[in-house]
Symmetry: C2
Subunit: 336 residues, 2 copies
C-alpha cells in the first residue's frame, strides 16, 4: 500500500496559489480511482483565515480547531473593513456547526511551497520541514528633537533617524553573530516629518526577529532591548516598544519528518531538512497530533506576489509525496 | 556718529518671523527720528523667494540682483502649483522695472535669528557670522531584492533597508571623524513596500552634507561615493545617486565680522563667531560687496516651525547692533 504500487497524481500547473488544498483533493481522488481503502479515514482540511490579511490574528481557523481560541471569540472578530467574521461566514455559507475544539486527527501533514529560496538554491526538490520558526514582532517608536539639518551641530542632536539606522545595523550584526537559522529584518521605517533638511522629530520602525530555538529568540530580544536602552542614553532620545506578535518555535514530529525523507528518497527525489520561516496551519495542529510539512521549491524564493511560481514537475513531486506519506500514515497503528 | 550717541531701537516681540526686514525699517525710522543723515544712503532690501518653498531654487531674488541668474529665467520659473513667477509678481504688483544685475552696494549686512541652538547653549546674545556652509544634497536610490522576512536566509538577502541604515550610520561616523563644522543628516527614508515582514525591494534616502570648507565638503562627497560602491558590491544591490543641490561655502567679509564683534562688546553684549548652517540672501550679496550677518539666539534652536521664538531682549540687541553696524559702515570711506 505504500505509494510505489499506485499511479502518481497528475498535475500540470493547476495548483498555482493553492497547492496544499488541491493536492489534498487529488490524493482523495487518486485513492478513489485506484479503489484504495485507507486503513484510517483521510480528510482534506480547509482552515479559515490562514493569512490574516483581513482578520487578526492569522491562522485563527486552525487555532480554534485545536482549542487555542474560543469559536465565539473568532466569530466576533472585526476585520480591517469593519466586517464581523461570523457574519461573513454566514453570508458565504461557511458558518459550520461542528463543535470546536474538534477531535484531534491521528496525524496531520501540510504540503506548501517553500516561499523562500533555499531549496532552489540547493537544487533540491523536497523539503522535509522540521518545524516553524518562532517569531518576535516589535514596533519601535523613537522620539527625539526635530531640528534644522544645517544649523544644528552634531553634538547637540537627538536624531531618531540615526537611532533607527543604528538599530537596523545592530539587528543585521546580531543575525550574523548568531548564524544558524537566525533571521532579522527591518522592513518598515517611517520618519516624521521625513524631509531632506530636517533632523526628524520621530521615527517608527518594525523589528522582525525569527529563530527555530526559543532560547535564542529570547536572547536576541533581550540583546535588542539592552541596545535600545543604551541608545536612549547615548543619543538623548526616548524609545518605546510595542509587541505586535510573538510565537514560540514549533518542532514537528520527528517520525513524520523521517518518513517524508525516506519516501522522497524511495521516489528518487532529492530531499533536505529545513525549518519554515513563515507561519502555517500545521503549527497549530502540531499542538494536538503528530504533524509535519512538505515543501517544494519557490522560483527565486518569491511569495505573496503575482510572480510566485513553482515548476510543474516540482508541484507533481510534492503532490505524489503527500499521497505516499498519507497512505503510509494511515497504515500505521501508532506514530511512535 | 557711532551708535552710543543715539536712542536704541524699540522692539517688543513685534519682529516675530520677519526680524531682518522689520529691524531694517526701524534702523531707517530711528535715523529719521534722530535727524541722522548717514554719509552714504541706507536701504532695506526685500528679496523675492528666499525660502524657495514654492519656486526653485531658493534665494533666486538675491541671485538675480547680483547677476547670478537672468531676470527672464527667474520670471519664467514655474512653481509647484503651476504658477509662473512673473505672472504672480504682476498680480501682486511687485514686478519692478529696475534692471538686474543692479548696482552693487557699498556693504550688506543681514540680521537673522540663528535657527540653531548654538548661541542659546553658549548663553551668548550676538553671533558674528563668519560665512555660510557649503551644501551638498543627494538623493540615493537603492534597488535590491524583495523577499519574505521569515524564509530568506541572511546570506541570500539583497536588502535596501539595511543598506540605507548602513549609509546613515556611515554619515554619522564621517561627521564625527571630521569634527569642526561638519554636519551630515539623513532626514528622509522611504522603503518600498515598507511592510514588517518583507525585505524591501527599494529604498530612497536623502543625504544632507554641509561644511564651511569646500575641500572638506568635496572629501566627504568622495568618501560617501566610495562607500556606496563598496556597499553595492558587498550587498549585491544597485545604488544610484542624484544631486539635488550643491552650493560652495561662502566666506563673509572679515572687516565687517570684526566690526560686528567690536560693536557688540562696546554695547555690552556677549558675542561669538559662528558660521551659518542655513542659506541666506547675504550669501548672494557676498559675491558683489563686503557682506556679513548678525545672529540672535533661537529658543531651543527651533525654526521653520510655529514654535520658533527669540526673546524680546535678544531681538532688541540684534536690532540695535544692526543700527550701529550700518551707521559705522556708512561712515567708512572704504572697507579694507
Amino acid at each position: 500500500m505504500t505509494g510505489s504500487h499506485i499511479d502518481t497524481v497528475r498535475t500540470g500547473g493547476k495548483y498555482d496559489g493553492n497547492l496544499g488544498v488541491l493536492a489534498g483533493l487529488e490524493v482523495i481522488q487518486t485513492c478513489q480511482e485506484n479503489n484504495i481503502i485507507p486503513e484510517r479515514p483521510l480528510a482534506v482540511a480547509f482552515f479559515t483565515n490562514e493569512e490574516g490579511a483581513r482578520f487578526a490574528p492569522d491562522m485563527f481557523g486552525s487555532l480554534v480547531f485545536v482549542g487555542g481560541m474560543d469559536v465565539e471569540t473568532a466569530l466576533d472578530t472585526v476585520g480591517i473593513d469593519g466586517a464581523r467574521v461570523g457574519d461573513e461566514l454566514e453570508r458565504i455559507g461557511y458558518n459550520g456547526a461542528t463543535p470546536c475544539p474538534a477531535h484531534a486527527p491521528h496525524a496531520f501533514v501540510e504540503l506548501h511551497i517553500e516561499q523562500g529560496p533555499v531549496l532552489e538554491q540547493q537544487g533540491i526538490v523536497i523539503g522535509a520541514v522540521t518545524g516553524v520558526q518562532g517569531i518576535s514582532w516589535q514596533e519601535v517608536t523613537i522620539a527625539g528633537q526635530s531640528n534644522h539639518a544645517g544649523t544644528t551641530p552634531m553634538a547637540l542632536r537627538h536624531d531618531p533617524a540615526y537611532a533607527a539606522a543604528n538599530i537596523a545595523v545592530f539587528l543585521r550584526d546580531l543575525a550574523t553573530r548568531y548564524g544558524g537559522n537566525q533571521v532579522c529584518t527591518v522592513g518598515k521605517i517611517d520618519l516624521h516629518p521625513n524631509l531632506i533638511n530636517v533632523v526628524p522629530a520621530k521615527a517608527v520602525l518594525t523589528l522582525d526577529i525569527r529563530n527555530t530555538e526559543e532560547a535564542l529568540l529570547q536572547k536576541a530580544e533581550a540583546e535588542v532591548l539592552e541596545h535600545l536602552r543604551q541608545l536612549e542614553s547615548s543619543e538623548g532620545i526616548s524609545i518605546t516598544t510595542r509587541q505586535l506578535a510573538r510565537f514560540e518555535p514549533v518542532v514537528f514530529d520527528e517520525r513524520i519528518v523521517s518518513l517524508i525523507e525516506s519516501l522522497a528518497i524511495e521516489n528518487n527525489h532529492s530531499v533536505m531538512r529545513l525549518p519554515s520561516g513563515a507561519g502555517h496551519d500545521a503549527q497549530m495542529l502540531a499542538r494536538v497530533c503528530p504533524t509535519a510539512m512538505i515543501f517544494v521549491p519557490s522560483v527565486d524564493g518569491i511569495s505573496h506576489n503575482p510572480a510566485e511560481h513553482t515548476d510543474d514537475h516540482d508541484l507533481e513531486a510534492g503532490a505524489n509525496l503527500l499521497l505516499h506519506t498519507m497512505l503510509t500514515l494511515c497504515a500505521l497503528e501508532t506514530i511512535a
